[in-house]
Symmetry: C2
Subunit: 207 residues, 2 copies
Amino acid sequence: MKKVISQATIDRLPLYFRTLRLVEEEDMQIISSDELGRRLDITPEQIRKDLATFGQFGRKGIGYDVRELKDRISNILGLQNKWRLAIVGVGHLGGALANYVNFASLGFSVVALFDNNKKIVGTEVNGIKINSVTRMKKIVAEKEVDIGVITVPAAEAQSAADLLVAAGVKGIWNFAPAKLSVPPTIPLVNEDLSVGLSALSYHMSQD
Amino acid sequence: MKKVISQATIDRLPLYFRTLRLVEEEDMQIISSDELGRRLDITPEQIRKDLATFGQFGRKGIGYDVRELKDRISNILGLQNKWRLAIVGVGHLGGALANYVNFASLGFSVVALFDNNKKIVGTEVNGIKINSVTRMKKIVAEKEVDIGVITVPAAEAQSAADLLVAAGVKGIWNFAPAKLSVPPTIPLVNEDLSVGLSALSYHMSQD
DNA sequence: TTATTATTGTAACCAATTTCACATTTGGGA
DNA sequence: TCCCAAATGTGAAATTGGTTACAATAATAA
């Protein structure tokens, strides 16, 4: 199963998935690419092309089986893995992510928190104890952490990434506005909020 | 000034901007596309092409004037506007954004907070009072809010957007995992965190 | 002054992505 | 049974985005 799926398609799959879950709750068993597109503002052709990337399982003249499509997308995205997250940097954003309920519904769980501020080490957020970053290796192993989430200031982001990689995480989700260097075997996704906000500013300035 | 700049380019401009600020602090007056690219893992050709979209102001054989390039990008992104934000939904994420320092350094400021939970209306976060959503129109006008930030649950996101539009905001930054309908004159940027996290999951699942 | 090196700007090419057009399949109704 | 309407799947065309190659320019050193 080594079919390449484009990044553009991968970024749309979560949207399909979330819509299929809603549709399922409405007790729809079958959905057409047209209806799915209408709900997401994506053309039906685009959706069919995306889905065709990983085999054909729609039924001509009918549409797609909601349950089957949803499960298939979930598998492609690897959501069956129930990834375990550790958050490094328990400031406002890190704390918010530790409490973020939408993760749980996708099968992700926050299992560890790290900070280098002695004042908060030992306290708990959402029932999870904050540890010193010096204990990262031990705790990442113990708690079987898969994903490291970086919510430290930009200047400290690279060293947080280095510690996470050394501790053995399999992927990194970076919120710091900084370019990180990690081994090519470790997937890295950047979630720099200022990019989106700046893009909004740009569009608001045009007319 | 009606030159079209591609979304791909717009999304890279904030990265250039942030790097130029760092470079400026290092007292560099001139930077080459090569050096800028090295710091961001973007090819120098790509950078030159992006910058060429809005005129030529590099100097052949020399490079780009750091200050000038930074100011120019700031203007293109509309950051000189000092946009004023209102956050709707003061849960964990909304609260974190109300405290987020990186905004201020880009010239954005949070000037109003709204929630429909009576228990928190009247309290303050980061010195900003939480108002009832019923007072949105009045307060958006009073505080001269430009941008509405949506951090309510998905099911309430559309009505939050409707209220913001009715109150006169000029743009919307949406964190709820939902597709919003807004008038085409109102720029909308979606910041669905589950998209990035799912993409990370996908890449981690590949062999 | 002239050659050399560094570096931009851009045209031409190539790759990725999206849109278009349509053949094909399915179920339902006459 | 046969036709029609509703859909998918997909090749081809169009568009968008990225890479390559190189001419042009500027500073510096010989």
